[in-house]
């Protein structure tokens, strides 16, 4: 909690805190319930199929383990990092991409996952916005090779059709509306240097 009311101890403020915690608990509980339901839907579908093979048992067990860990993670976030009530400066993760040229063709750096913070996961758009700084023509070429698509509750920054890039250093940010997700640092290497 980083708001300016941290030092207030009035009864109203205390009850506000309780109310906020219950509200956050409801949000987390809803997410956990949905996740549990998805797991049991998957397991019951597999069980109802004609053959429940050993690999299905293994895959279901792994899914159950993954669900349990995700639930634990949500509860941990609820207790240790409740959402801020006002806009607060935060740290942002950075993505680094490096493009190299081989025989006139630019390399395709592997996709990078951007985890969306727990409290920002509702109503995510299919694509995140990518904002780049630099000369307009160069940024247009580079930007057209990048996309950040929603996969589950994360965005996957992917490179495709990287053509005609202009060597240099580019900076940018990936955001959904006015919520920043990650910094972007891109180096397009100049072969001559």
């Amino acid at each position: 909690m980083a708001d300016q009311n941290d030092r207030e101890f009035s009864p109203a403020t205390a009850w506000d805190r309780v109310g906020q915690f219950l509200q956050d608990s409801a949000a987390v509980g809803l997410a956990i319930a949905q996740r549990n339901q998805d797991l049991w839907t998957r397991v019951s579908t597999n069980l109802r199929s004609n053959q429940y093979k050993p690999e299905s048992v293994t895959a279901d067990a792994a899914a159950a383990m993954s669900t349990a860990l995700d639930n634990l993670d949500d509860m941990w976030q609820l207790l240790t990092r409740p959402p801020d009530r006002e806009r607060v400066a935060t740290t942002l993760p950075s993505i680094f991409l490096r493009f190299q040229e081989t025989d006139g063709v630019w390399s395709n750096p592997d996709p990078v996952w951007i985890r969306v913070p727990f409290w920002d996961r509702a109503n995510l758009p299919r694509q995140a916005d990518i904002h780049l700084d630099g000369a307009k023509a160069a940024v247009k070429k580079l930007g057209s090779a990048l996309s950040a698509e929603l996969v589950g509750s994360s965005y996957r920054l992917e490179v495709a059709d990287a053509r005609g890039l202009v060597p240099g250093m580019y900076v940018g940010i990936i955001a959904i509306g006015d919520r920043p997700l990650a910094n972007l640092r891109i180096v397009v290497e100049d072969k001559a240097s």
Binding site: Q100, T102, S107, N108, P109, D110, W113, E158, D161
Partner: protein, 437 residues
């Protein structure tokens, strides 16, 4: 392996996987003569798991018969210098499968043909450099009537001396210089590789004759280079083919047909773009007709490559390639096929237990089909490949770095990949009478 001689049918999927793993094992055991490496010899590093020993690999491949053995034996022969000792595992394997295939006879053929190839190589270099000695060398080649001169007739459809006589065109020297660039070999070494291929083919055909009709692909040169600093691997495979049906060659080079007779390509189809993977089919065997933008197509491919460790498990890669060029020239005096491709998007990949997005950083190359004589063609296939580091946050050095394991294996796997693709051009699936696509 879909070699020119074909392979026995009715193999299970597990058999085919085991055969592919054994074949790659042979390649891994026999690369050192042709492989070259910039910086530290990364390709000579031992693998964490390791492929089969040569003896075990040959025993496994033998189950596929002579057709399956042809490519691996050629790989071993090519990896042994003329007059050198073949690996000990080769002779017993041949004795079990085809007792008439004697290595002594192969050696005498190789020595004899190399002598002729020296003269041919010198003449070609003189022609490329427009040296006056070319005329004398050509006359000497014709007067010598060597065994090599006679043997080349079976492959080229004309003797080597007649081939030299045909090099009168003003453009010839430029074409020969371009040839060096395309195949990655100087003319002198190319002639030596050609002599080896002719000797091997004559020796092998005694036990395993080519089927009548259809296309015959003769093995030839393979150049492998790996830069150990970047781990980028470049492989260029060149083969000669005898084929009366130009359209079969075009279809074998058509990107959407690559999976028809391939050991590696599980699926190839044109799609709308890098992200929209709905099929966008076009008639097979037709090059680009329009130069209107975009003059290129996107090809979705699924590739399965033996992992090289822990038995015949395969790595799988799902990519979208951009086919920058697919030009077909079909004129009376000039028939060529040119395909240029490069990686547009690496969708996902699986190596052993590790499935993830991406997986390939660099994947580009070309295929060129050029006419040498009436029904004789040169097929050159080149690929430059770099897999991504699969443990980017956990780097260790050398072969302890499991994330770079694929790149260590690439010289062997990629040369097998390209060679099997070139040999598969002879598959009946590409002929105009047996089209399956």
């Amino acid at each position: 392996m879909s070699a020119a001689t074909g392979a026995p049918a009715a193999k299970t999927q597990a058999d085919e996987k085991a055969l592919r793993f054994a074949t790659v094992s042979v390649y891994y055991n026999c690369l050192l003569r042709e492989g070259s490496s910039g910086g530290a010899p990364a390709m000579a590093l031992p693998l964490p798991g390791g492929p089969l020993s040569l003896a075990d690999a040959l025993a496994e491949i033998q189950k596929g018969g002579l057709g399956a053995m042809r490519g691996p034996v050629w790989r071993i022969v090519r990896g042994t210098p003329v007059g050198g000792d073949y690996p000990g595992a080769l002779e017993p394997a041949l004795a079990r499968l085809a007792p008439s295939l004697k290595l002594d006879h192969l050696n005498s053929l190789r020595k004899s043909y190399h002598a002729g190839a020296n003269l041919l190589g010198a003449a070609l270099v003189a022609c490329a450099e427009k040296q006056p000695e070319f005329g004398e060398l050509r006359k000497h080649m014709a007067s010598r009537k060597s065994d090599f001169d006679r043997a080349t007739e079976a492959v080229l459809g004309m003797t080597a001396s007649r081939f030299l006589s045909s090099l009168d065109d003003r453009r010839t020297s430029a074409q020969l210089r371009a040839l060096q660039q395309e195949v990655g070999l100087d003319l002198y070494r190319y002639a030596a590789e050609f002599a080896d291929a002719v000797a091997f083919d004559e020796w092998w055909r005694a036990a395993d004759p080519a089927p009548d009709g259809g296309m015959v692909v003769y093995p030839a040169a393979c150049v492998i280079r790996q830069d150990s600093a970047s781990m980028i691997t470049r492989v260029t495979v060149t083969a000669l083919a005898r084929c009366e049906d130009f359209s079969a060659l075009v279809r074998s080079a058509d990107p959407q047909c690559w999976s028809l007779a391939s050991d590696v390509m599980a699926k190839t189809q044109y799609v709308h773009d890098s992200y929209d993977l709905t099929p966008a089919p076009v008639p097979a065997g037709q090059g680009y007709k329009s130069r209107q933008p975009p003059p290129y197509r996107w090809l979705e491919e699924i590739v399965n490559v033996p992992s090289g460790i822990e038995g015949p498990t395969e790595s799988s890669f799902h990519n979208v390639l951009r086919i920058d060029k697919f030009n077909v020239v079909d004129k009376k005096d000039r028939k060529t096929v040119t395909v240029n491709f490069s990686l547009a998007r690496s969708v996902n990949s699986t190596v052993l237990w590790d499935t993830r997005s991406g997986g390939i950083l660099v994947d580009q190359g070309y295929i060129g089909v050029r006419r040498l004589a009436a029904d004789t063609w040169r097929i050159t296939s080149h690929k430059t490949l770099l897999f991504s580091n699969r443990t980017p946050n956990m780097n260790t050095s050398g072969w302890f770095d499991l994330g770079q394991m694929l790149n260590v294996l690439t010289p062997a796997a990629l040369s097998w990949w390209l060679e099997s693709e070139v040999y598969s051009a002879a598959d009946p699936a590409y002929s105009s009478t047996k089209r399956s696509k």
